[in-house]
């Protein structure tokens, strides 16, 4: 048994799987980020709004999503969510790319609440006098938010948002791994050769998604 056979990485089956896995991760990252960031801004605005109701909803969303691990989110959106859909929608979901869609929903929500907290810190870091100045110029609330508060808040929040994006990238690897054996036959273990039970979700070729660099090195033995 070779310790680390680098030639496996450069071409052949493993190479293709590795590249596919990487591509999938990137796609998930892009899709989730596009949803998570605006959603995060919206939640942050809810939490800092003057309306108690909005603040309550925002806080509930953040605490509810943040205190549940990503894996449990993925399990819910993969397994439970389709059951809640009306029959034709459910079929439409299965016919397209269910793992990708469900993973994106889970990742977006999870990332959005973490981003919301960072943006909220950014908003709080902007002095209140900024909004006062904007309002006293005659700008409405939404315009003041859009043109004065948010640009400054987001600028302050860029470093933590960057690390949240890195976290999101790391989290896509959890999603890609789940997309294989662990999800469907319920026992991940030595999945490198195991065929997955795929009753509810036809048509998806799941194997490439489990491969990333770590599993390569495990597979060479």
């Amino acid at each position: 048994m070779t310790f680390f056979d680098a030639s496996l990485l450069r071409s052949g089956e493993y190479h293709d799987w590795l590249v596919q896995g990487l591509l999938l991760s990137l796609q998930l990252l892009a899709a989730s980020f596009i949803i998570a960031l605006p959603l995060g801004v919206a939640i942050a605005l809810m939490r800092t709004s003057t309306s108690r109701v909005l603040r309550g909803i925002g806080a509930t969303l953040v605490e509810g999503i943040r205190n549940v691990p990503l894996l449990a989110h993925l399990l819910f959106w993969y397994f439970a969510f389709p059951e809640l859909l009306p029959e034709p929608v459910k079929m439409a979901l299965y016919d397209s790319n269910p793992e990708f869609i469900c993973a994106t929903i889970a990742l977006s929500l999870y990332a959005s609440v973490h981003m919301a907290e960072d943006i909220r810190s950014g908003i709080r870091a902007v002095p209140a006098s900024q909004m006062e100045a904007a309002r006293s110029l005659g700008l409405g609330r939404i315009a003041s938010l859009r043109m004065v508060l948010l640009p400054q808040a987001i600028r302050i929040a860029v470093p933590p948002l960057l690390s949240q994006t890195v976290n999101l990238w790391k989290d896509t690897s959890v999603a890609t791994v789940i997309g294989d054996s662990g999800l469907f036959d319920g026992v991940a273990g030595d999945f490198a050769g195991r065929a997955a039970v795929r009753a509810p979700l036809p048509g998806a070729d799941l194997r490439p998604r489990c491969l990333n660099l770590s599993t390569i090195t495990g597979c060479t033995s």
């Binding site: 605490e63 205190n67 691990p69 894996l71 449990a72 790391k170 319920g186 273990g189 030595d190």
Partner: protein
């Protein structure tokens, strides 16, 4: 949902025990607590090293900490479970593997927390201790660390919450922690996916949110003490 809970609550709570290894929610909690407790000594050591006055100690520690934090936990879990046995010849069980990786991760995050706590103290504290003739080690042990750890106790609780969430990755190596058990219940029952996973989410929520509130209350209690102290000495 009530029927579901009625039938499976014990399995959810302790897994197959005593007919098998301990699992479920109990495993999740015990694993997290054990990982954090075991990581504490290492975390303290690394944290002190992070703020050491000697560059030869400070820099390698900083590199190590940044390195470990950059690697996704999932990767480390895989390596430890699939790759390490091939190298060392020793195959560790799922719980042991998970524990080892969690201890490593917690130690590194604890190091950052401890370092932040030490840095948050006024420099005069170390000066005061050393001016009495105490050595650096004595000053750390008697003056700096007791205060630093008290200051960061909310962060320590938050790290416990993070560890509880991290145990869910054990699912991927077949560890019978609570997410895995929930999925097994789902496979058995098959028609109640929504209920099963809502119960799972609620379980995590109650546990983690409860602990987070504790951290919040700890922080508030400490801020009150500082405010009281500054009021007494204000100009």
């Amino acid at each position: 949902m009530l029927e579901l809970i009625h039938d499976y609550w014990l399995y959810f709570l302790i897994g197959q025990y005593p007919n098998g290894p301990l699992g479920g929610l109990t495993l999740t909690v015990l694993l997290s607590a054990a990982a954090l407790a075991l990581a504490m000594p290492l975390g303290l050591l690394l944290g002190v090293a992070r703020v050491s006055p000697w560059r030869a100690v400070r820099w390698p520690t900083a590199v190590l900490v940044q390195l470990v934090r950059a690697v996704p936990l999932l990767l480390v879990v895989f390596w430890a479970y699939f790759f390490l046995p091939a190298v060392t010849g020793v195959k560790t069980g799922q719980a042991t593997t998970m524990l080892m990786t969690l201890v490593l991760f917690d130690a590194v995050y604890l190091a950052e927390i401890v370092a932040a706590g030490i840095r948050s103290l006024p420099k005069g504290q170390l000066d005061g201790a050393r001016s009495l003739g105490l050595s650096y080690g004595q000053a750390l042990r008697l003056v700096i660390l007791p205060q630093a750890l008290r200051h960061v106790s909310p962060s320590l609780v938050s790290q416990l919450v993070a560890t509880i969430k991290a145990t869910s990755l054990g699912y991927i190596i077949g560890l019978s922690e609570v997410s895995f058990i929930a999925t097994q219940v789902n496979t058995l029952v098959f028609t109640k996916a929504v209920e099963v996973y809502i119960v799972l989410a609620l379980t995590y929520f109650v546990l983690c949110f409860g602990l987070s509130r504790l951290a919040f209350l700890l922080e508030r209690r400490m801020n009150r003490r500082t405010v009281h102290a500054t009021k007494l000495n204000s100009r």
